[in-house]
Amino acid sequence: MGRRSLPLGLVLPAIALLALALGYPLVRQVVLSLQEFGLAQQFGQPPEWIGLGNYRDLLTDRELWVVVLRTVAFCFVNAGLTFGIGLALALLMARMSRPVRMLAQCGLLLAWAMPVVAAMTVWQFLFDTEYGVVNWLLTRAGGDFTGHGWLLDPWSFFLVATIVVVWMSVPFVVFTLYAALTQVPEDVMEAAEIDGAGTWQRFVHVVLPAIRPVLLVVILLQVIWDLRVFTQIYTLQKAGGVSNDTNLLGTYIYTLGIKGGDFGTAAAAAMFMLALTIVLTAPYVRLMIKQED
């Protein structure tokens, strides 16, 4: 190998693998989304080109828009809660006494480290109709929650989903923001104090600008992650939710394609999700590109 081809040789395996596992499916998905690909094609009939037919079907389908709205609403509520709670806790963390701070950090670390499916089974158990400790506690507190099914009603289904998602996501936000807060220069804080700035003024004029880049990244990552919740919704649906009224984009595509066999429409829906992700993450990507230069 010549000197020039050596680096290309080194990146080749990575590129080849990514091209095979992501690039090819992406191209194929575009093709698939332009074809009629349903049950008949599963049994060997050649797929038929229908142009933008799948997209037309999809975009005129009321269900898709309901799912999209639900997905975006769920995403914003969860990202907002996670971020708000995370920021509040990060600020409080700086004011805790040392031993309590260490303990709180250990707890957060534990919640953060829990595998998603393990966390899901535990929360399902906590909210279980018959043996759940939540029903027991609420009944003890005076309500009548004996045998209450939390997953039957879409609103309470999403309440449970939100509790779980926020519980799992807050630790990352707290750790990241707390780390950023400790980087705020102490002398600037002191100078502001000497100049008569109160706690709130110092927060707005010194702390916020100093941690702004980290705040932006955390918010954007949170939006990306909450846009693609699949496991939590899937498992809660399995545990007794009504699938039709609780689908988010991920589970909707799954139900349409893998379960329903309508790969054409599912591919079009997946392209839609891809577009949504790109729109929502463009600012983050631009930020990263700027840093690369």
Binding site: L6, L17, M114, P213, V217, T235, L274, I289
Partner: protein
């Protein structure tokens, strides 16, 4: 921030800190403690707070379950294979990106960044079709293929930082002493990269071990389920009466390796994900 906090504020903050601790630990405690409870106590009228009458029955039942054993084998194979391939490919790419200037380098780096943004849900339909066409559904190789693609961008990105951190001068000094370029790299640079390789390997392990979405799409045959897919199916088996003790025991078993590994890389995950932002 070594500020002098007023006592009242500190007490308030401490109280919230303790609430946070309880809120985080309680579900984990519930999982572990229930896993030691006999069936009749789990299903008792009032929940038992401490598993005084602890038993290992739940663990015995799970460890004797053939389906659990199968899922464990599948999970371990996919995870280890993913980590191995990802580390090797990422290492080579990271060296190229860090040590050489070549055409397409910038494009490559930016493409990695973009790929990381793609949600699995936006591609799994066509990945399923592709693996189906290749006869790789329900196969360790097929799942590994999509897993490696999933962790590779982050792995290259992180390893590149580590390679950047090893001064080129060290290699050059070794070459002055008579090593070839390759020798210098393997004898001097590689050993210094060990912490980076461990950290990225652990990251890949956690990702692959926990992954659910692609696993449930690719491994449709119950005999080929990974542990997460098996666990969800096991929890879902309402018909035979939910065996919460066994479910909590298996959840605990799945969680243990992750917690152990997580503690190793936790610091780096915080700094890694936002490194760019902090520097900027």
């Amino acid at each position: 921030m070594a500020r002098r906090t007023p006592t009242a504020v500190r007490i308030g903050a401490d109280l919230i800190g303790i609430l946070v601790l309880l809120g985080c630990v309680f579900p984990v405690y519930w999982m572990v403690s229930r896993s030691f409870l006999p069936r009749n106590e789990i299903k008792g009228e009032d929940p038992v707070l401490f598993p005084w009458s602890g038993t290992l029955d739940n663990y015995r039942r799970i460890l004797g379950d053939d389906d659990f054993a199968d899922a464990m084998v599948t999970s371990l194979s996919v995870t280890l294979l993913t980590v191995g391939v990802a580390i090797l490919f990422a290492f080579l790419a990271a060296v190229a990106v860090s040590r050489f200037r070549f055409r397409g380098r910038r494009t490559f780096i930016l493409t990695l960044l973009l790929i990381q943004m793609i949600p699995a849900e936006a591609l799994f339909i066509s990945q399923y079709k592709m693996l189906d066409g290749m006869g790789l559904l329900n196969s360790v190789i097929g799942l590994t293929l999509v897993y490696v693609a999933g962790v590779l961008p982050f792995t290259v990105w992180t390893l590149r930082g580590f390679v950047d951190g090893v001064p080129r001068e060290l290699e050059e000094a070794a070459m002055m002493d008579g090593c070839s370029r390759t020798q210098a790299f393997f004898r001097v640079t590689l050993p210094l990269l060990a912490p980076g390789l461990v950290a990225t390997g652990v990251f890949g392990f956690i990702q692959a071990w926990n992954e659910f979405t692609l696993a449930v799409v690719v491994m449709t045959d119950p005999a080929k389920e990974t542990l997460p897919v098996w666990l969800v199916a096991f929890t879902d088996a309402r018909s035979r009466g939910v065996d919460w003790g066994a479910i909590m025991a298996s959840s605990t078993l799945i969680t243990i390796p992750v917690i152990v590994f997580f503690l190793i890389v936790q610091r780096r995950m915080v700094s890694g994900l936002t490194a760019g932002a902090v520097k900027g």
